[in-house]
Every structure is written in C-alpha cells, then in structure tokens.
C-alpha cells in the first residue's frame, strides 16, 4: 500500500541521494520507509567536529503535515538535546512547515550543533556550561565525539 506519506518519503530519499547535503546522510530502514536511520557529522570548527552522531527519524501517516520524531541514538551533550536523545528544535515542533523534507531536517539539526540555543535548554547542565564555562562544555562534548566512534 502506498500512502501519500510514503510516496513523499520516497521523494525525500531520492532528493537526498541526488542532491546530498554535506555532512549528513540518511536512509529508510530495510523494511519500513516510515523509520529512517541517519548520521550527522559534527560540523567543522565546533567541538562536535569529527563526531559521527546517529539518529532515528520516525514518521507518521500525517507527514508532511506533522513533523517526524527525531532522536539521537548516539549519546549527546548539547543544550538542546534531552537525556533520551530527543531534540528541542522549533522547526520540529511549533515552527514545522510541510515544505520541509528529510534533507532540511538533518541540515537544521546539524546547524543546531554549531549554534545551540541555551535559552530553551533540554539539558540544563549543558546549557549552563555553554554559557558560563565554555572550556568544560567543550571537554564534555569531545567526550561524546569519542564515544560516537565506538557506538
């Protein structure tokens, strides 16, 4: 059965393959186009550099009218990432637009790594260190980067 959401996801996948954005990749899981695995490479000139961070993206049949649920599988230390890997990002919640696709979602998350928003913290420790003790923040982030090589 091919629903509008599934057809849209096929188009998203095609676009991701034909016009791959730098530093992100993603593909549907083998037997379910509604669940994707993705990888975001830590942006250059940020403490996340060299990290390979894995995520899962779960879509519903309401996509693209409703945003998917995006979650980091890799352990993250970031002001806007919850302990369970959930992401606090406006475009995945109240600023969602049905014109976004997987490529746009992944590049937005990638830019969130470079530009955290410590004013809407999901991890208050990370937000506090980001604002007040950048050296300690970077140390914690680098530990995640090393961890990301293993898992």
């Amino acid at each position: 059965m091919s629903t509008p959401a599934r057809r849209r996801l096929m188009r998203d996948f095609k676009r991701l393959q034909e016009d791959p954005p730098t530093g992100v990749s993603g593909a549907p899981t083998d037997n379910n186009i509604m669940i994707w695995n993705a990888v975001i490479f830590g942006p250059h000139d940020t403490p996340f550099e060299d990290g390979t961070f894995k995520l899962t993206i779960e879509f519903t049949e309401e996509y693209p009218n409703k945003p998917p649920t995006v979650r980091f599988v890799s352990h993250m230390f970031h002001p806007n990432v919850y302990a369970d890997g959930g992401i606090c990002l406006d475009i995945l919640q109240n600023r969602w637009s049905p014109t976004y696709d997987v490529s746009a979602i992944l590049t937005s998350i990638q830019s969130l790594l470079s530009d955290p928003n410590p004013n809407s913290p999901a991890n208050s420790m990370a937000a506090q260190l980001y604002k007040e003790n950048r050296r300690e923040y970077e140390k914690r982030v680098k530990a995640c980067v090393e961890q990301s090589f293993i898992d």
Binding site: P4, R8, R11, P64, N65, S97, P98, T99
Partner: protein, 108 residues
C-alpha cells in the same frame, strides 16, 4: 495587489500569539522564487500534475476528471489545493513565507 487586504491581515496577526507581527507585506518580493514555483513544495509534485494524495487514491471526481486544482495565495506561492487545504486546518499561514494565507485564485 494585496493592499486592500492589509488591514484585515493585521487584525488576524494581532489575534495570533506569534513571535513577530507582519506590519506590511510587499507581494513583489517573492518573484525571485518563481523559477521553482511549478512544484508544490508540500508534496513535491508539479502543480500541473495531480498531488501525491490524489495519485495514491487515483481519485477522480464524478465527471471522471482529476479535480486536483492549483491554488495561488496573495503571496504568489502556489500549491495543490488538496495539499494546502490539509495544512491550513493546522496553521493558516503560507508554509513557504509564513504570511497569513489568503487565496488569490484557484484553477489549473
């Protein structure tokens, strides 16, 4: 061309609890986008073809023709009527420019 709607639109904006308020809108600003305006940004199918939903359902109306029409907003962005009507139920803004959505014309 959008001037006569400005007052109305401001009222709408004041009602909604958004982080910004549109004071004035210049419809001419969006023309540079027109190169790609043949594709519905919601379902990513050409607006002249049936939308993904109609394709999936291979929906025809009782007269036997596809009734999947194109809708243009005051902002000059165009979408399939099917795609846009689902979205405006959630959020009555153009998904591309965030302007309050009001229909300029419909057709093929």
């Amino acid at each position: 061309m959008a001037d006569e709607n400005d007052n109305e639109r401001m009222d709408d904006n004041q009602k909604s609890d958004k982080m910004f308020t549109l004071k004035k809108w210049n419809a001419v600003a969006m023309w540079s986008w027109d190169v790609e305006c043949d594709t519905c940004a919601i379902c990513r199918v050409q607006v002249m073809d049936a939308c993904l939903r109609c394709q999936a359902e291979s929906k025809k109306d009782s007269y036997g023709k596809q009734d999947c029409v194109v809708v243009w907003g005051e902002c000059n962005h165009s979408f399939h009527y099917c795609c846009m009507s689902l979205w405006v139920k959630q959020n009555n803004r153009c998904p591309l420019c965030q302007q309050e959505w009001s229909i300029q014309r419909m057709g093929k």
